[in-house]
Protein backbone atom coordinates (compact mmCIF):
# COMPACT_ATOMS: atom_id res chain seq x y z
CA UNK A 1 0.00 0.00 0.00
CA UNK A 2 2.82 2.32 0.93
CA UNK A 3 4.75 1.38 -2.15
CA UNK A 4 1.84 2.17 -4.38
CA UNK A 5 1.52 5.61 -2.85
CA UNK A 6 5.18 6.26 -3.61
CA UNK A 7 4.80 5.18 -7.17
CA UNK A 8 1.76 7.42 -7.65
CA UNK A 9 3.64 10.30 -6.11
CA UNK A 10 6.63 9.67 -8.30
CA UNK A 11 4.44 9.62 -11.40
CA UNK A 12 2.74 12.83 -10.35
CA UNK A 13 6.10 14.48 -10.05
CA UNK A 14 7.90 12.90 -12.95
CA UNK A 15 5.31 13.22 -15.69
CA UNK A 16 4.88 17.02 -15.39
CA UNK A 17 8.63 17.25 -15.14
CA UNK A 18 8.95 15.35 -18.40
CA UNK A 19 6.39 17.60 -20.01
CA UNK A 20 8.26 20.61 -18.79
CA UNK A 21 11.55 19.34 -20.02
CA UNK A 22 10.00 18.63 -23.43
CA UNK A 23 8.75 22.19 -23.87
CA UNK A 24 12.00 23.38 -22.49
CA UNK A 25 13.87 21.47 -25.16
CA UNK A 26 11.73 23.00 -27.91
CA UNK A 27 12.55 26.42 -26.67
CA UNK A 28 16.14 25.54 -26.46
CA UNK A 29 16.17 24.56 -30.19
CA UNK A 30 14.63 27.77 -31.38
CA UNK A 31 17.69 29.95 -31.04
CA UNK A 32 19.85 27.71 -33.26
CA UNK A 33 18.65 28.68 -36.80
CA UNK A 34 21.73 27.38 -38.56
CA UNK A 35 20.86 23.85 -37.69
CA UNK A 36 17.26 24.26 -38.70
CA UNK A 37 18.22 25.80 -42.06
CA UNK A 38 20.45 22.88 -42.78
CA UNK A 39 17.67 20.51 -41.89
CA UNK A 40 15.30 22.34 -44.24
CA UNK A 41 17.80 22.17 -47.13
CA UNK A 42 18.28 18.47 -46.52
CA UNK A 43 14.58 17.91 -46.48
CA UNK A 44 14.01 19.91 -49.67
CA UNK A 45 16.76 18.07 -51.45
CA UNK A 46 15.35 14.83 -50.25
CA UNK A 47 11.90 15.82 -51.40
CA UNK A 48 13.21 16.93 -54.77
CA UNK A 49 15.05 13.69 -55.10
CA UNK A 50 11.97 11.74 -54.18
CA UNK A 51 9.98 13.73 -56.66
CA UNK A 52 12.58 13.14 -59.34
CA UNK A 53 12.58 9.46 -58.56
CA UNK A 54 8.82 9.45 -58.74
CA UNK A 55 9.00 11.24 -62.07
CA UNK A 56 11.63 8.84 -63.28
CA UNK A 57 9.50 5.93 -62.25
CA UNK A 58 6.53 7.48 -63.98
CA UNK A 59 8.59 8.14 -67.05
CA UNK A 60 9.94 4.62 -66.95
CA UNK A 61 6.46 3.27 -66.61
CA UNK A 62 5.31 5.50 -69.44
CA UNK A 63 8.20 4.31 -71.60
CA UNK A 64 7.56 0.73 -70.59
CA UNK A 65 3.95 1.10 -71.52
CA UNK A 66 4.89 2.81 -74.77
CA UNK A 67 7.36 0.03 -75.49
CA UNK A 68 4.75 -2.56 -74.63
CA UNK A 69 2.21 -0.84 -76.83
CA UNK A 70 4.74 -0.67 -79.63
CA UNK A 71 5.73 -4.29 -79.13
CA UNK A 72 2.13 -5.32 -79.08
CA UNK A 73 1.56 -3.32 -82.25
CA UNK A 74 4.50 -5.00 -83.94
CA UNK A 75 4.07 -8.49 -82.54
CA UNK A 76 0.35 -8.91 -82.84
CA UNK A 77 -0.38 -10.25 -86.31
CA UNK A 78 -3.60 -10.91 -88.07
CA UNK A 79 -4.25 -14.30 -89.59
CA UNK A 80 -6.18 -15.59 -92.57
CA UNK A 81 -7.98 -18.68 -93.75
CA UNK A 82 -6.40 -20.75 -96.57
CA UNK A 83 -6.49 -18.95 -99.91
CA UNK A 84 -8.34 -16.00 -98.38
CA UNK A 85 -7.62 -12.33 -97.83
CA UNK A 86 -10.86 -11.72 -95.89
CA UNK A 87 -10.55 -10.13 -92.42
CA UNK A 88 -12.39 -12.20 -89.80
CA UNK A 89 -13.78 -10.73 -86.51
CA UNK A 90 -10.53 -11.36 -84.61
CA UNK A 91 -8.47 -9.68 -87.31
CA UNK A 92 -10.83 -6.69 -87.29
CA UNK A 93 -10.52 -6.31 -83.49
CA UNK A 94 -6.75 -6.37 -83.72
CA UNK A 95 -6.83 -3.82 -86.53
CA UNK A 96 -9.04 -1.52 -84.44
CA UNK A 97 -6.39 -1.60 -81.69
CA UNK A 98 -3.75 -0.86 -84.30
CA UNK A 99 -5.76 2.06 -85.59
CA UNK A 100 -6.01 3.46 -82.04
CA UNK A 101 -2.28 3.11 -81.65
CA UNK A 102 -1.65 4.85 -84.94
CA UNK A 103 -4.02 7.66 -83.98
CA UNK A 104 -2.15 8.09 -80.68
CA UNK A 105 1.20 8.05 -82.47
CA UNK A 106 0.84 10.27 -85.50
CA UNK A 107 4.54 10.06 -86.34
CA UNK A 108 4.51 6.30 -86.75
CA UNK A 109 4.68 4.95 -90.30
CA UNK A 110 4.04 1.30 -91.00
CA UNK A 111 4.88 -1.34 -93.57
CA UNK A 112 2.19 -4.02 -93.75
CA UNK A 113 3.68 -7.32 -94.94
CA UNK A 114 1.38 -9.92 -96.50
CA UNK A 115 2.46 -13.56 -96.08
CA UNK A 116 1.13 -16.95 -97.19
CA UNK A 117 1.60 -20.59 -96.29
CA UNK A 118 3.67 -22.80 -98.57
CA UNK A 119 0.71 -24.34 -100.36
CA UNK A 120 -0.26 -22.75 -103.63
CA UNK A 121 2.31 -21.67 -106.14
CA UNK A 122 4.95 -18.99 -105.78
CA UNK A 123 3.40 -16.40 -108.12
CA UNK A 124 -0.13 -17.00 -106.88
CA UNK A 125 1.02 -16.55 -103.29
CA UNK A 126 2.84 -13.31 -104.17
CA UNK A 127 -0.48 -12.04 -105.50
CA UNK A 128 -2.42 -13.40 -102.51
CA UNK A 129 0.07 -11.89 -100.02
CA UNK A 130 -0.44 -8.50 -101.59
CA UNK A 131 -4.21 -8.87 -101.32
CA UNK A 132 -3.81 -9.67 -97.61
CA UNK A 133 -1.64 -6.61 -96.98
CA UNK A 134 -4.04 -4.43 -98.95
CA UNK A 135 -7.05 -5.74 -97.00
CA UNK A 136 -5.49 -4.56 -93.72
CA UNK A 137 -4.46 -1.23 -95.22
CA UNK A 138 -7.97 -0.56 -96.53
CA UNK A 139 -9.46 -1.39 -93.13
CA UNK A 140 -7.09 1.01 -91.32
CA UNK A 141 -7.70 3.77 -93.88
CA UNK A 142 -11.44 3.36 -93.36
CA UNK A 143 -10.81 3.93 -89.64
CA UNK A 144 -9.23 7.27 -90.48
CA UNK A 145 -5.54 6.46 -90.81
CA UNK A 146 -3.75 8.47 -93.49
CA UNK A 147 -2.96 6.05 -96.35
CA UNK A 148 0.41 7.79 -96.79
CA UNK A 149 1.50 6.34 -93.45
CA UNK A 150 0.81 2.79 -94.61
CA UNK A 151 2.94 0.89 -97.12
CA UNK A 152 2.27 -2.67 -98.25
CA UNK A 153 4.58 -5.40 -99.48
CA UNK A 154 3.95 -9.04 -100.35
CA UNK A 155 6.41 -11.73 -99.41
CA UNK A 156 4.20 -14.53 -100.71
CA UNK A 157 5.40 -17.80 -99.20
CA UNK A 158 9.02 -16.66 -98.98
CA UNK A 159 9.25 -15.81 -95.27
CA UNK A 160 7.41 -18.39 -93.16
CA UNK A 161 7.41 -17.89 -89.37
CA UNK A 162 7.16 -21.62 -88.84
CA UNK A 163 9.10 -23.87 -91.25
CA UNK A 164 6.83 -26.84 -90.52
CA UNK A 165 4.75 -28.62 -93.15
CA UNK A 166 1.49 -29.02 -91.23
CA UNK A 167 -1.76 -27.18 -90.58
CA UNK A 168 -0.44 -25.57 -87.36
CA UNK A 169 2.55 -24.10 -89.19
CA UNK A 170 0.44 -23.06 -92.18
CA UNK A 171 -2.06 -21.26 -89.93
CA UNK A 172 0.79 -19.30 -88.32
CA UNK A 173 2.29 -18.41 -91.67
CA UNK A 174 -0.90 -17.04 -93.28
CA UNK A 175 -0.58 -13.56 -91.82
CA UNK A 176 -0.12 -9.83 -92.04
CA UNK A 177 2.85 -8.54 -90.13
CA UNK A 178 3.19 -4.88 -89.08
CA UNK A 179 6.62 -3.28 -89.19
CA UNK A 180 7.20 0.25 -87.85
CA UNK A 181 9.45 2.18 -90.22
Amino acid sequence: MRNRMWITLALLLVVPAMLFSASCAKKAVAPTPKVEKKATTDEAAKKAEEEAARQRALEEQRLREARQAREEFVNEMIHFAFDSSALDATAQEILKKKAAYLQAHPDVRVIIEGHCDERGTVEYNLALGERRAQAAKTFLVNLGIDPNRLETISYGEERPLDPGHNEAAWAKNRRDQFVIK
Binding site: E123, Y124, A127, S154
Partner: protein, 441 residues
Protein backbone atom coordinates in the same frame (compact mmCIF):
# COMPACT_ATOMS: atom_id res chain seq x y z
CA UNK B 1 39.18 -32.62 -145.50
CA UNK B 2 40.35 -31.69 -142.06
CA UNK B 3 39.38 -28.89 -139.73
CA UNK B 4 41.62 -28.03 -136.83
CA UNK B 5 39.93 -27.48 -133.55
CA UNK B 6 41.40 -24.56 -131.69
CA UNK B 7 39.41 -24.42 -128.47
CA UNK B 8 36.42 -25.74 -126.65
CA UNK B 9 34.39 -22.74 -127.74
CA UNK B 10 31.43 -24.37 -129.27
CA UNK B 11 31.32 -22.62 -132.61
CA UNK B 12 32.31 -24.84 -135.47
CA UNK B 13 34.69 -27.15 -133.68
CA UNK B 14 33.49 -30.48 -134.91
CA UNK B 15 34.14 -32.21 -138.12
CA UNK B 16 31.09 -34.08 -139.11
CA UNK B 17 31.00 -36.64 -141.85
CA UNK B 18 28.08 -38.69 -142.90
CA UNK B 19 29.42 -42.20 -143.22
CA UNK B 20 26.50 -43.66 -145.07
CA UNK B 21 25.08 -41.60 -147.89
CA UNK B 22 21.59 -40.36 -147.07
CA UNK B 23 19.98 -43.26 -145.32
CA UNK B 24 16.30 -42.77 -145.99
CA UNK B 25 13.93 -42.52 -143.04
CA UNK B 26 12.87 -45.91 -141.80
CA UNK B 27 9.78 -47.35 -143.41
CA UNK B 28 7.89 -47.46 -140.14
CA UNK B 29 7.88 -45.49 -136.92
CA UNK B 30 10.34 -46.67 -134.32
CA UNK B 31 8.74 -44.37 -131.77
CA UNK B 32 4.97 -44.42 -131.51
CA UNK B 33 4.21 -40.72 -131.46
CA UNK B 34 0.74 -41.13 -129.94
CA UNK B 35 2.21 -42.65 -126.78
CA UNK B 36 5.94 -43.03 -127.20
CA UNK B 37 6.58 -44.16 -123.64
CA UNK B 38 4.11 -47.03 -123.59
CA UNK B 39 6.77 -49.33 -124.93
CA UNK B 40 10.43 -48.49 -124.62
CA UNK B 41 12.72 -49.53 -127.44
CA UNK B 42 15.37 -52.00 -126.24
CA UNK B 43 18.70 -50.61 -127.34
CA UNK B 44 22.24 -51.94 -126.86
CA UNK B 45 25.09 -49.50 -126.40
CA UNK B 46 28.17 -51.71 -125.99
CA UNK B 47 31.49 -50.26 -124.92
CA UNK B 48 33.15 -48.30 -127.72
CA UNK B 49 36.23 -49.57 -129.43
CA UNK B 50 39.56 -47.91 -128.74
CA UNK B 51 41.43 -47.95 -132.05
CA UNK B 52 44.88 -47.47 -130.51
CA UNK B 53 44.15 -49.59 -127.46
CA UNK B 54 46.08 -47.35 -125.04
CA UNK B 55 44.77 -47.44 -121.45
CA UNK B 56 43.81 -43.77 -121.55
CA UNK B 57 41.94 -44.19 -124.81
CA UNK B 58 40.23 -47.34 -123.53
CA UNK B 59 39.06 -45.35 -120.53
CA UNK B 60 37.66 -42.63 -122.76
CA UNK B 61 35.94 -45.25 -124.94
CA UNK B 62 34.28 -46.66 -121.84
CA UNK B 63 33.16 -43.26 -120.49
CA UNK B 64 31.88 -42.22 -123.92
CA UNK B 65 29.66 -45.27 -124.37
CA UNK B 66 28.34 -44.87 -120.83
CA UNK B 67 27.58 -41.21 -121.37
CA UNK B 68 25.82 -41.97 -124.64
CA UNK B 69 23.66 -44.61 -122.97
CA UNK B 70 22.78 -42.22 -120.11
CA UNK B 71 21.97 -39.41 -122.52
CA UNK B 72 19.65 -41.62 -124.57
CA UNK B 73 18.05 -43.04 -121.40
CA UNK B 74 17.22 -39.49 -120.28
CA UNK B 75 14.76 -39.12 -123.17
CA UNK B 76 12.54 -41.89 -121.79
CA UNK B 77 12.19 -43.58 -125.20
CA UNK B 78 14.66 -46.39 -124.60
CA UNK B 79 15.32 -49.38 -122.47
CA UNK B 80 19.10 -49.48 -122.16
CA UNK B 81 20.17 -53.14 -122.09
CA UNK B 82 22.65 -54.32 -119.49
CA UNK B 83 26.10 -54.61 -121.12
CA UNK B 84 26.86 -57.58 -118.85
CA UNK B 85 24.57 -59.71 -121.05
CA UNK B 86 26.39 -58.84 -124.28
CA UNK B 87 28.43 -61.40 -126.19
CA UNK B 88 30.74 -58.71 -127.39
CA UNK B 89 34.34 -57.62 -127.09
CA UNK B 90 34.77 -54.11 -128.50
CA UNK B 91 38.48 -54.68 -129.14
CA UNK B 92 37.93 -57.84 -131.18
CA UNK B 93 34.43 -57.86 -132.59
CA UNK B 94 33.27 -55.78 -135.50
CA UNK B 95 31.54 -52.45 -135.09
CA UNK B 96 30.69 -51.97 -138.76
CA UNK B 97 27.83 -53.75 -140.54
CA UNK B 98 29.33 -56.65 -142.46
CA UNK B 99 31.31 -57.71 -139.41
CA UNK B 100 28.52 -57.32 -136.86
CA UNK B 101 26.87 -60.54 -135.75
CA UNK B 102 23.32 -59.19 -135.50
CA UNK B 103 22.04 -62.55 -134.16
CA UNK B 104 24.05 -61.88 -130.97
CA UNK B 105 22.17 -58.62 -130.52
CA UNK B 106 18.66 -59.84 -131.29
CA UNK B 107 19.31 -62.71 -128.86
CA UNK B 108 19.77 -60.28 -125.96
CA UNK B 109 16.61 -58.46 -127.04
CA UNK B 110 18.14 -55.44 -128.71
CA UNK B 111 16.11 -53.86 -131.50
CA UNK B 112 18.57 -51.07 -131.96
CA UNK B 113 22.33 -51.10 -131.60
CA UNK B 114 24.79 -48.26 -131.32
CA UNK B 115 28.44 -49.01 -131.99
CA UNK B 116 31.28 -46.60 -131.59
CA UNK B 117 35.00 -46.32 -131.98
CA UNK B 118 37.41 -43.56 -131.08
CA UNK B 119 40.92 -42.33 -131.39
CA UNK B 120 42.49 -39.90 -128.99
CA UNK B 121 45.52 -37.86 -130.07
CA UNK B 122 47.15 -34.72 -128.70
CA UNK B 123 44.14 -33.28 -126.89
CA UNK B 124 41.75 -34.25 -129.67
CA UNK B 125 39.25 -37.04 -129.90
CA UNK B 126 37.81 -38.52 -133.05
CA UNK B 127 34.67 -40.62 -132.75
CA UNK B 128 32.67 -42.66 -135.22
CA UNK B 129 29.20 -43.64 -134.13
CA UNK B 130 26.63 -45.82 -135.84
CA UNK B 131 23.00 -46.71 -135.22
CA UNK B 132 21.74 -50.07 -136.50
CA UNK B 133 18.40 -51.77 -136.76
CA UNK B 134 19.34 -55.26 -135.51
CA UNK B 135 16.39 -57.11 -137.06
CA UNK B 136 16.75 -55.52 -140.47
CA UNK B 137 20.53 -55.67 -140.05
CA UNK B 138 20.62 -52.21 -141.45
CA UNK B 139 22.60 -49.03 -140.79
CA UNK B 140 20.21 -46.19 -139.89
CA UNK B 141 22.74 -43.53 -139.08
CA UNK B 142 26.49 -43.10 -139.20
CA UNK B 143 28.49 -40.04 -138.12
CA UNK B 144 32.10 -39.16 -137.49
CA UNK B 145 33.04 -36.32 -135.14
CA UNK B 146 36.30 -34.69 -134.19
CA UNK B 147 36.82 -32.22 -131.38
CA UNK B 148 38.78 -31.29 -128.29
CA UNK B 149 38.69 -33.77 -125.41
CA UNK B 150 36.48 -31.29 -123.53
CA UNK B 151 33.93 -31.61 -126.35
CA UNK B 152 33.28 -35.29 -125.65
CA UNK B 153 29.90 -34.53 -124.10
CA UNK B 154 28.91 -32.19 -126.90
CA UNK B 155 29.82 -34.77 -129.54
CA UNK B 156 27.74 -37.42 -127.82
CA UNK B 157 24.77 -35.09 -127.43
CA UNK B 158 24.97 -34.17 -131.10
CA UNK B 159 24.86 -37.82 -132.09
CA UNK B 160 21.96 -38.45 -129.70
CA UNK B 161 20.14 -35.56 -131.33
CA UNK B 162 20.64 -37.26 -134.72
CA UNK B 163 19.36 -40.57 -133.30
CA UNK B 164 16.23 -38.92 -131.92
CA UNK B 165 15.66 -37.06 -135.18
CA UNK B 166 16.01 -40.32 -137.10
CA UNK B 167 13.55 -42.13 -134.84
CA UNK B 168 10.97 -39.43 -134.07
CA UNK B 169 11.37 -36.73 -136.68
CA UNK B 170 12.02 -33.99 -134.12
CA UNK B 171 15.26 -32.55 -132.80
CA UNK B 172 14.86 -33.43 -129.15
CA UNK B 173 16.09 -31.51 -126.18
CA UNK B 174 19.85 -31.77 -126.36
CA UNK B 175 20.47 -28.08 -126.91
CA UNK B 176 18.13 -26.93 -124.17
CA UNK B 177 18.72 -25.67 -120.65
CA UNK B 178 16.75 -25.41 -117.45
CA UNK B 179 16.58 -22.32 -115.24
CA UNK B 180 15.54 -22.77 -111.61
CA UNK B 181 15.73 -21.37 -108.10
CA UNK B 182 18.10 -22.86 -105.54
CA UNK B 183 18.93 -22.04 -101.92
CA UNK B 184 22.45 -23.48 -102.23
CA UNK B 185 24.07 -20.22 -101.04
CA UNK B 186 21.52 -19.67 -98.28
CA UNK B 187 19.35 -17.34 -100.36
CA UNK B 188 17.00 -18.04 -103.23
CA UNK B 189 19.17 -17.36 -106.29
CA UNK B 190 18.52 -18.27 -109.91
CA UNK B 191 20.63 -20.94 -111.58
CA UNK B 192 20.78 -22.52 -115.01
CA UNK B 193 21.91 -26.00 -116.02
CA UNK B 194 21.93 -28.19 -119.12
CA UNK B 195 18.77 -30.16 -119.95
CA UNK B 196 20.10 -33.18 -118.04
CA UNK B 197 21.13 -31.26 -114.91
CA UNK B 198 24.75 -31.04 -115.98
CA UNK B 199 26.81 -27.88 -115.23
CA UNK B 200 24.64 -25.89 -112.79
CA UNK B 201 25.60 -22.23 -113.02
CA UNK B 202 24.63 -19.38 -110.71
CA UNK B 203 22.80 -16.72 -112.69
CA UNK B 204 21.89 -14.18 -109.99
CA UNK B 205 24.02 -13.22 -107.02
CA UNK B 206 22.30 -10.53 -104.99
CA UNK B 207 21.56 -12.34 -101.69
CA UNK B 208 17.91 -11.34 -101.72
CA UNK B 209 14.95 -13.43 -102.91
CA UNK B 210 14.90 -14.33 -106.61
CA UNK B 211 11.94 -16.19 -108.11
CA UNK B 212 10.28 -17.69 -111.20
CA UNK B 213 12.88 -17.50 -113.99
CA UNK B 214 11.37 -17.63 -117.50
CA UNK B 215 13.27 -18.09 -120.78
CA UNK B 216 12.45 -16.08 -123.86
CA UNK B 217 11.62 -18.24 -126.88
CA UNK B 218 15.03 -17.53 -128.45
CA UNK B 219 16.76 -18.49 -125.20
CA UNK B 220 18.61 -15.18 -125.07
CA UNK B 221 16.72 -13.60 -122.18
CA UNK B 222 15.57 -14.63 -118.73
CA UNK B 223 12.87 -12.68 -116.91
CA UNK B 224 12.40 -13.18 -113.17
CA UNK B 225 11.16 -11.56 -109.99
CA UNK B 226 13.68 -10.28 -107.45
CA UNK B 227 13.62 -8.46 -104.11
CA UNK B 228 17.12 -7.08 -104.82
CA UNK B 229 15.84 -3.55 -104.24
CA UNK B 230 13.41 -4.52 -101.47
CA UNK B 231 10.21 -4.78 -103.50
CA UNK B 232 9.15 -7.67 -105.76
CA UNK B 233 10.34 -6.22 -109.08
CA UNK B 234 10.55 -7.72 -112.56
CA UNK B 235 14.03 -8.17 -114.03
CA UNK B 236 14.58 -8.76 -117.74
CA UNK B 237 18.14 -9.92 -118.30
CA UNK B 238 20.17 -10.85 -121.34
CA UNK B 239 21.68 -14.24 -120.52
CA UNK B 240 25.06 -13.69 -122.18
CA UNK B 241 25.61 -10.01 -121.51
CA UNK B 242 23.79 -9.72 -118.17
CA UNK B 243 22.34 -6.37 -119.23
CA UNK B 244 18.66 -5.57 -119.18
CA UNK B 245 15.74 -3.74 -117.63
CA UNK B 246 14.01 -3.61 -114.27
CA UNK B 247 10.26 -3.01 -114.01
CA UNK B 248 9.88 -1.57 -110.51
CA UNK B 249 6.45 -0.05 -110.25
CA UNK B 250 4.54 0.34 -107.02
CA UNK B 251 3.07 -2.94 -105.78
CA UNK B 252 4.02 -6.31 -107.25
CA UNK B 253 5.88 -6.79 -110.55
CA UNK B 254 5.76 -10.56 -110.93
CA UNK B 255 4.94 -13.68 -112.94
CA UNK B 256 6.67 -13.00 -116.27
CA UNK B 257 6.02 -15.12 -119.38
CA UNK B 258 7.49 -14.46 -122.83
CA UNK B 259 5.34 -14.37 -125.94
CA UNK B 260 6.74 -17.03 -128.33
CA UNK B 261 8.72 -15.60 -131.23
CA UNK B 262 8.63 -12.02 -129.98
CA UNK B 263 10.60 -9.69 -127.73
CA UNK B 264 7.51 -9.19 -125.61
CA UNK B 265 6.35 -10.65 -122.34
CA UNK B 266 3.39 -10.60 -120.03
CA UNK B 267 3.58 -9.89 -116.30
CA UNK B 268 1.26 -9.25 -113.37
CA UNK B 269 1.51 -5.67 -112.10
CA UNK B 270 -0.49 -3.97 -109.36
CA UNK B 271 0.53 -0.31 -109.59
CA UNK B 272 -3.11 0.72 -110.05
CA UNK B 273 -4.04 -1.01 -106.81
CA UNK B 274 -5.51 -3.99 -108.64
CA UNK B 275 -3.59 -6.97 -109.97
CA UNK B 276 -3.82 -7.32 -113.74
CA UNK B 277 -1.79 -9.02 -116.46
CA UNK B 278 -0.10 -6.59 -118.86
CA UNK B 279 1.75 -7.08 -122.13
CA UNK B 280 5.19 -5.46 -122.00
CA UNK B 281 7.98 -4.90 -124.48
CA UNK B 282 11.27 -6.64 -123.76
CA UNK B 283 12.43 -3.26 -122.49
CA UNK B 284 9.68 -3.22 -119.86
CA UNK B 285 7.35 -0.69 -121.46
CA UNK B 286 3.63 -1.41 -121.14
CA UNK B 287 1.94 -2.18 -124.46
CA UNK B 288 -1.52 -2.95 -123.11
CA UNK B 289 -3.56 -4.45 -120.32
CA UNK B 290 -4.62 -8.06 -121.02
CA UNK B 291 -7.00 -8.76 -118.14
CA UNK B 292 -9.65 -6.58 -116.57
CA UNK B 293 -11.09 -8.06 -113.43
CA UNK B 294 -10.86 -7.14 -109.77
CA UNK B 295 -8.84 -9.66 -107.82
CA UNK B 296 -5.99 -12.02 -108.59
CA UNK B 297 -4.89 -12.47 -112.23
CA UNK B 298 -1.52 -14.18 -112.48
CA UNK B 299 0.64 -16.97 -114.01
CA UNK B 300 0.23 -16.37 -117.71
CA UNK B 301 1.42 -18.96 -120.26
CA UNK B 302 1.25 -18.37 -124.01
CA UNK B 303 0.18 -20.74 -126.76
CA UNK B 304 3.03 -21.54 -129.18
CA UNK B 305 1.47 -19.28 -131.86
CA UNK B 306 1.23 -16.40 -129.37
CA UNK B 307 -2.49 -15.94 -130.08
CA UNK B 308 -3.84 -17.28 -126.82
CA UNK B 309 -2.88 -16.85 -123.20
CA UNK B 310 -3.68 -19.24 -120.37
CA UNK B 311 -3.73 -17.60 -116.93
CA UNK B 312 -4.95 -18.01 -113.37
CA UNK B 313 -7.84 -15.95 -112.07
CA UNK B 314 -9.90 -16.04 -108.92
CA UNK B 315 -12.91 -14.45 -110.64
CA UNK B 316 -15.09 -17.48 -109.94
CA UNK B 317 -14.14 -17.59 -106.24
CA UNK B 318 -11.36 -20.17 -106.45
CA UNK B 319 -8.16 -20.00 -108.47
CA UNK B 320 -8.86 -21.58 -111.86
CA UNK B 321 -7.21 -21.57 -115.27
CA UNK B 322 -8.71 -19.48 -118.05
CA UNK B 323 -7.76 -19.01 -121.69
CA UNK B 324 -7.92 -15.62 -123.33
CA UNK B 325 -8.04 -15.35 -127.10
CA UNK B 326 -5.90 -12.29 -127.75
CA UNK B 327 -7.43 -11.70 -131.19
CA UNK B 328 -11.12 -11.83 -130.23
CA UNK B 329 -10.63 -10.86 -126.58
CA UNK B 330 -12.87 -13.76 -125.52
CA UNK B 331 -12.07 -15.48 -122.19
CA UNK B 332 -13.16 -19.02 -121.34
CA UNK B 333 -12.64 -21.13 -118.25
CA UNK B 334 -10.49 -24.23 -118.81
CA UNK B 335 -10.45 -26.07 -115.46
CA UNK B 336 -13.54 -27.12 -113.52
CA UNK B 337 -12.20 -30.12 -111.61
CA UNK B 338 -10.95 -29.10 -108.14
CA UNK B 339 -10.82 -25.88 -106.16
CA UNK B 340 -7.24 -24.78 -106.68
CA UNK B 341 -5.68 -24.95 -110.13
CA UNK B 342 -2.70 -22.74 -110.91
CA UNK B 343 0.56 -22.47 -112.87
CA UNK B 344 -0.55 -23.37 -116.38
CA UNK B 345 2.28 -24.26 -118.78
CA UNK B 346 1.30 -24.56 -122.44
CA UNK B 347 2.86 -27.51 -124.29
CA UNK B 348 5.15 -26.69 -127.23
CA UNK B 349 2.88 -28.70 -129.53
CA UNK B 350 0.03 -26.45 -128.47
CA UNK B 351 -2.54 -29.12 -127.71
CA UNK B 352 -2.16 -29.56 -123.95
CA UNK B 353 -1.63 -27.52 -120.79
CA UNK B 354 0.16 -28.80 -117.70
CA UNK B 355 -0.73 -27.22 -114.37
CA UNK B 356 -0.56 -27.57 -110.58
CA UNK B 357 -3.67 -28.77 -108.73
CA UNK B 358 -4.28 -28.80 -104.99
CA UNK B 359 -6.82 -31.47 -104.11
CA UNK B 360 -7.36 -33.97 -101.29
CA UNK B 361 -4.47 -32.54 -99.27
CA UNK B 362 -1.96 -33.14 -102.04
CA UNK B 363 -0.38 -30.93 -104.67
CA UNK B 364 -0.06 -32.67 -108.02
CA UNK B 365 0.69 -32.06 -111.66
CA UNK B 366 -2.10 -32.51 -114.15
CA UNK B 367 -2.38 -32.17 -117.89
CA UNK B 368 -5.52 -31.12 -119.73
CA UNK B 369 -6.35 -30.69 -123.39
CA UNK B 370 -6.70 -27.09 -124.54
CA UNK B 371 -10.33 -27.95 -125.35
CA UNK B 372 -10.88 -29.01 -121.72
CA UNK B 373 -10.90 -32.75 -122.51
CA UNK B 374 -8.48 -35.52 -121.61
CA UNK B 375 -7.63 -34.49 -118.05
CA UNK B 376 -4.93 -36.71 -116.56
CA UNK B 377 -2.93 -36.51 -113.34
CA UNK B 378 0.78 -37.25 -113.74
CA UNK B 379 1.89 -37.41 -110.10
CA UNK B 380 0.16 -39.03 -107.15
CA UNK B 381 0.94 -40.04 -103.58
CA UNK B 382 4.52 -38.78 -103.83
CA UNK B 383 4.59 -35.61 -101.76
CA UNK B 384 3.79 -32.23 -103.24
CA UNK B 385 4.56 -31.65 -106.91
CA UNK B 386 4.58 -28.21 -108.51
CA UNK B 387 5.81 -25.95 -111.30
CA UNK B 388 5.53 -28.13 -114.42
CA UNK B 389 7.49 -26.96 -117.46
CA UNK B 390 7.58 -28.76 -120.83
CA UNK B 391 10.76 -29.67 -122.66
CA UNK B 392 11.06 -27.92 -126.05
CA UNK B 393 9.97 -31.09 -127.92
CA UNK B 394 7.04 -31.69 -125.57
CA UNK B 395 8.27 -35.16 -124.59
CA UNK B 396 9.32 -34.41 -121.01
CA UNK B 397 8.18 -32.26 -118.08
CA UNK B 398 10.45 -30.86 -115.38
CA UNK B 399 8.86 -30.08 -112.01
CA UNK B 400 9.65 -29.64 -108.34
CA UNK B 401 8.72 -32.15 -105.67
CA UNK B 402 9.27 -32.61 -101.92
CA UNK B 403 8.88 -36.40 -102.05
CA UNK B 404 12.41 -36.77 -100.59
CA UNK B 405 11.74 -34.10 -97.95
CA UNK B 406 13.45 -31.00 -99.28
CA UNK B 407 12.25 -29.57 -102.58
CA UNK B 408 14.04 -31.17 -105.56
CA UNK B 409 13.84 -30.94 -109.33
CA UNK B 410 12.48 -34.02 -111.07
CA UNK B 411 11.88 -34.95 -114.69
CA UNK B 412 9.18 -37.23 -116.09
CA UNK B 413 7.79 -38.04 -119.50
CA UNK B 414 4.73 -36.08 -120.57
CA UNK B 415 2.74 -39.21 -119.71
CA UNK B 416 3.99 -39.21 -116.11
CA UNK B 417 6.36 -42.17 -116.46
CA UNK B 418 10.07 -42.31 -115.58
CA UNK B 419 9.98 -39.83 -112.70
CA UNK B 420 13.56 -39.21 -111.54
CA UNK B 421 15.73 -36.59 -109.94
CA UNK B 422 17.31 -34.12 -112.33
CA UNK B 423 20.34 -32.95 -110.38
CA UNK B 424 22.06 -33.16 -107.05
CA UNK B 425 23.13 -29.94 -105.38
CA UNK B 426 22.99 -28.59 -101.83
CA UNK B 427 19.94 -26.67 -100.63
CA UNK B 428 16.44 -26.81 -102.10
CA UNK B 429 15.56 -26.39 -105.77
CA UNK B 430 12.27 -25.13 -107.17
CA UNK B 431 10.46 -23.30 -109.99
CA UNK B 432 12.17 -24.93 -112.99
CA UNK B 433 11.64 -23.48 -116.45
CA UNK B 434 12.78 -25.40 -119.53
CA UNK B 435 14.34 -23.36 -122.34
CA UNK B 436 13.98 -23.90 -126.07
CA UNK B 437 16.92 -25.54 -127.87
CA UNK B 438 19.45 -22.73 -127.54
CA UNK B 439 22.67 -24.16 -128.88
CA UNK B 440 23.24 -26.89 -131.39
CA UNK B 441 23.90 -29.83 -129.07
Amino acid sequence: MKIRCRSAVFAAMMLLLVLAPGVSRAGYDYVDISNPFLRKIPIAVPQFKSFSGTPEEMKRARSSSQLLAETLAFTGYFKILDPASFLFDPQKDGIVAPRINFKNWTTVGAELLITGGLVQTAGLVEMELRLYDTFKEKLLLGKRYKGALADQRRIIRRFCSEVIYKLTGHRGIFGSKIAFVSTTSGNKEIYTCDFDGYRPHKFTNNRSINLTPMWSSDGKWIAYTSYAKGNPDLYIKNVREKRGTVVARKGINISPCWVPGRFELSATLSFTGDQEIYLLTGRGKIIKKLTNNRGIDVSASWSPDGKKMAFVSKRSGTPQIYIKDIVTGRVRRLTYEGKHNTQPNWSPKGDRIAYTAIADGEINIRVIGVDGNGLIQLTEGQGDNESPSWSPDGSLIVFSTNREGPSRLYVMTSYGTDQRRLLEMPGEQSEPNWSPNIEGP
